[in-house]
């Protein structure tokens, strides 16, 4: 069964450092998303991406965040200057249409 692959599985970074979280969506999917989940809380929408541009973004997705699809397979989330409150599990997802997302296993980001 096709999978969404995320790397790394765990990232520890110093506050103020930049991090890039990487995702390889399912190859024939057209829609890409980033979500995050702070420990013990709900899965929160960050951003959606379609046709090489951002379709929607949440209030969380401020100027410190950016997304890119640098080539035909990768989809990245960059946090420019990490804060302690950015510590969370970050999930990438993709979908063929707007139905039924396939999520990756996540990257656990710890900001110290």
């Amino acid at each position: 069964e096709p999978e969404v692959t995320q790397t790394p599985s765990h990232q520890v970074t110093q506050m103020g450092q930049e991090v890039i979280l990487r995702c390889v969506p399912i190859s024939n999917h057209l829609y890409f998303y980033w979500y995050r989940q702070i420990l013990g809380q709900k899965v929160e929408f960050l951003v959606s991406f379609y046709n090489n541009e951002i379709s929607e973004k949440s209030e969380i997705f401020d100027d410190q965040f950016s997304v890119e699809r640098p080539d035909g397979s990768n989809f990245t989330l960059k946090i420019r200057s990490t804060k302690l409150e950015d510590s969370a599990m970050y999930f990438c997802a993709s979908s063929e249409s707007t139905d039924g997302y396939t999520f990756g296993s996540g990257t656990r980001l710890t900001v110290v």
Binding site: V43, F45, M89, A93, T98, D99, F103, G104, G106
Partner: protein, 113 residues
């Protein structure tokens, strides 16, 4: 503002019984509603989608209903098994945006052998 509510208390049932989970929403009429399963430390896994013009959808032991008048969806697992123990998330498309799926906080299901 729009709100999605799922029972925050865990549902604890005996193996073989039917589990019924509830998702309520307010101040909004979604075009569709989705259910996901999430295991600890893992990403959500898509289970079922039901559209606003559908009353019921089934897949194997799973059944979802969608009542747009009550603004409620019910998710049923029949003949439940310990392996069904997980957190179940309800998700709705947000306002007129097809590109923004918003999740409820989930209900934890525990199936006792």
């Amino acid at each position: 503002s729009q709100k999605i509510e799922q029972n925050s208390e865990a549902l604890n049932i005996q193996e073989g019984k039917t589990a019924t989970l509830t998702c309520n929403y307010t101040n909004y009429s979604p075009a569709y509603l989705q259910w996901y399963r999430q295991d600890p430390g893992r990403g959500p896994v898509f289970l079922l989608l039901i559209r606003e013009n559908e009353k019921e959808k089934r897949k194997e032991r799973l059944k979802v209903t969608f009542d747009t008048t009550l603004k409620q969806s019910l998710f049923h697992i029949t003949a439940s098994q310990p392996a069904d123990s997980a957190t179940y998330l309800c998700a709705l498309d947000w306002m007129d945006s097809s590109y923004k799926l918003i999740f409820g906080s989930g209900t934890r299901l525990l199936v006792r052998p």
